[in-house]
């Protein structure tokens, strides 16, 4: 068992799970999407990115690329949320839909990272 691999797999799967738990629910319904979940998903994804910094393997660089995509989309979602709630109390359904669909995009990239992780693990078994 390689501790570094465990930690990395943990973070990458956690990123996917958090992202999914934020994404699930009615697209424009604010009560289905908690802001803390978005925050957690973003932070975990950032940590995943940094963990793959300086990795020169093919797998490492592909995962780095996909997790950079996740960061980009989630930061865009967070900014959208922040901008739409300035001087208001609550978020409008339109903005909510944008945020959720961005998170949905990030979900795909996260899924890709996990699939890559599984493929890499499978290769080692052989």
């Amino acid at each position: 068992m390689n501790l570094e691999k465990v930690i990395f797999a943990f973070f990458i799967i956690l990123a996917l799970s958090l992202n999914f738990s934020f994404f699930i629910g009615e697209l424009s319904e604010a009560s289905h999407h908690h802001v803390n979940e978005l925050f957690a998903a973003l932070i975990v994804s950032l940590i995943c990115t940094v963990m793959k910094f300086g990795d020169r393997t093919h797998f490492g660089s592909t995962v780095l690329a996909s997790s950079l995509v996740v960061d980009l989309l989630l930061i865009a979602a967070a900014i959208t949320w922040g901008v739409s709630t300035v001087n208001h109390g609550s978020i409008t359904p339109t903005a909510m839909a944008t945020v959720t669909s961005l998170a949905g995009g990030a979900l795909i990239a996260n899924l890709l990272s996990v699939v890559l992780l599984i493929i890499e693990t499978g290769q080692i078994r052989k």
Partner: protein
């Protein structure tokens, strides 16, 4: 670039993760802790405000408590956050600073700089493996010749001394293991400007490895190796090492030449040792070494080489060695070091003509030479110096001929690299008759006022001598004599030594021989003096005035006359 970049990124992983975590916890804490707005209503900070606050808090800018004054609980949390974020920042900055001190990082940066400078080279260069005493002499010589040197040595502390040398062409250096083919590739063995690999490390086997690697990576690349052991030399020769230099054999051959043909030795000595002159007694250069009884103290590689070459009948050799049987000395050898008077007397010092101190210990060699001189004042002393710094002691001991291993190798290497015609000339010089040799020596001495001459090569092609070529192209003959001396330009005289035409060498070419395209002509002349051929090669006007009698004082008229002349030829 990529190496350094990835190294930095990898080192930054931990501090960056720490920073992200600290910021995340601090931001989350700010959103969770309840506050109070100015109306006294309970209020919670949003992520936007929380991140804004944490950002300026973490960098200790401190705009104050925004947007509303904090409650005590919030302040307590901010207090915790301030200290953790400062520690995280310090750790991150510390890591980056430590990285610049890191050996891996420094060597990665050095490698990168080395590769870049190799890539930028646009003139011929040689790769020199090993920067010991020999390497140092070669690098100096190459720099005098304006040739770029690339140095690789395992001991980076040796390379530091290079920084103190004032080389006119600064060498490019890499501290690394030369037997690693990657380093050889990095040094540019496949570079179009690379002209050769010179392996002059202390260790024969390392030189062998370098030769193998070079020949495998680039079979056409000339390789010059230093080798002191015959086995390794044979091995090197077996896969096409271009030149193998064994300093002991080279010097042994010189001693033999000095005994049998001192005039020729003098010429060889001049032309090979153009960079650093050998220390040799003036009288011996003229008279040569006497035959008769020779004593060789120390029957190692040098002793064997001297004995091998002195085997021509004029000389009878007596060997003195501490353990003659182990070193394989012939029967009748004397047991001892030779540092004591008894041993030397037993070896017949009183009647001997030459003593060679050939052991590998400088102190012993000095002691042998001094003792021998005391016992027999007329004896000629030849000493071997192992440590370059001890050279001065041998000079003080009035040693007649000093053998400096590194100098022998360095001068041979420099001759091979930069003076291919000199090598050819020396090869053919054995066919010179004694009287011709004497005439040549007299001529050279007259020209240089008894100083050491230098050689220079003229190549008749569009690059080496455009003006001469243009002149010849106009069906005007120019002879060897006309380019070597002219009474109107005193002090530019050169002696033509060898003419190479179409693979054929003409030793001491006939003065009336006309020059042709592709000829290579070797001159010798006075040091620090511009030869006539050097002046002529790219100065059509000078050729014109000297040999077409176009000697008008006004340049315009000269030019008009030259035009007319050229037209009439067309």
């Amino acid at each position: 670039m990529s190496d350094i970049f990835f190294l930095v990124l990898r080192r930054l992983r931990t501090p960056l993760i720490l920073l992200i975590s600290v910021y995340a916890v601090a931001t989350l804490g700010m959103t969770l802790i309840p506050g109070v707005d100015p109306n006294g209503e309970p209020w919670r900070m949003g992520f936007f405000h929380a991140f804004y606050f944490v950002s300026f808090m973490g960098t200790t800018i401190g705009f104050g408590e925004l947007p509303y004054p904090f409650t005590d609980l919030q302040r307590a949390w901010v207090l915790v956050c301030i200290y953790t974020s400062v520690v995280a920042w310090l750790y991150g900055i510390g890591t980056v600073l430590r990285l610049t001190q890191d050996e891996t990082f420094i060597s990665a940066v050095a490698q990168r700089a080395f590769k870049l400078s190799i890539k930028r080279i646009d003139r011929p260069f040689h790769i020199i493996c090993g920067y010991g005493e020999t390497g140092q002499l070669i690098v100096r010589g190459l720099s005098e010749l304006g040739i770029q040197a690339i140095i690789i040595d395992l001991h980076s502390e040796r390379l530091h001394s290079l920084k103190l040398e004032e080389l006119s062409v600064p060498a490019i250096v890499l501290g690394g293991d030369i037997t690693d083919p990657d380093n050889l590739l990095a040094a540019g063995i496949n570079h179009p400007c690379c002209r050769g690999v010179i392996a002059v490390t202390q260790d024969d086997h390392t030189n062998l490895q370098i030769a193998v690697a070079s020949k495998l990576v680039n079979p056409d690349m000339p390789v010059i190796c230093r080798s002191e052991i015959q086995d390794e030399a044979d091995n090197m020769a077996s896969f096409g090492t271009d030149s193998i230099i064994n300093p002991y054999l080279v010097f042994g051959r010189r001693l033999s030449l000095l005994t049998t043909n001192p005039e020729l030795h003098r010429i060889h000595n001049w032309f090979i040792n153009q960079h650093t002159a050998e220390h040799i007694n003036e009288r011996i250069t003229h008279e040569g070494l006497p035959g008769g009884d020779w004593i060789i103290c120390g029957y190692g590689r040098f002793g064997k080489a001297v004995e091998h070459y002195s085997d021509d009948g004029h000389i009878s050799v007596t060997i003195v060695d501490i353990d003659p049987e182990a070193s394989g000395a012939p029967k009748g050898s004397i047991v001892g070091r030779g540092t004591e008077a008894d041993t030397l007397i037993e070896a017949g010092i009183k009647s001997a003509s030459v003593i060679v101190a050939a052991s590998d210990d400088d102190a012993n060699n000095l002691s042998i030479l001094i003792t021998a001189k005391q016992l027999n004042n007329d004896i000629v002393t030849i000493g071997r110096v192992s440590q370059e710094t001890n050279n001065i002691l041998f000079m003080h001991a009035k040693c007649d001929y000093i053998m400096r291993r590194s100098q022998v190798v360095a001068n041979e290497v420099l001759t091979i690299i930069s003076r291919p015609l000199v090598t050819k000339f020396l090869q053919y010089s054995y066919s010179l008759s004694p009287s011709a040799t004497n005439d040549l020596i007299t001529e050279i001495c007259r020209l240089t006022n008894d100083n050491d001459p230098v050689t220079w090569r003229l190549v008749i092609d569009s690059k080496g001598a455009p003006a001469i070529l243009q002149f010849i192209d106009n069906q005007q003959a120019l002879t060897v004599e006309q380019v070597s001396s002219n009474s109107k330009l005193p002090g530019t005289e050169g002696i033509p030594l060898l003419l190479l035409r179409g693979g054929m060498s003409h030793l001491l070419p006939d003065p009336d021989m006309p020059l042709k395209l592709g000829d290579e002509l070797l001159f010798c002349g006075r040091r620090n003096q511009t030869l006539l051929a050097q002046k002529l090669r790219d100065n059509i006007e000078l050729i014109d005035s000297l040999y077409n009698q176009n000697r008008h004082h006004i340049p315009l008229l000269r030019w008009l006359k030259r035009r007319k002349k050229l037209k009439s030829v067309d």
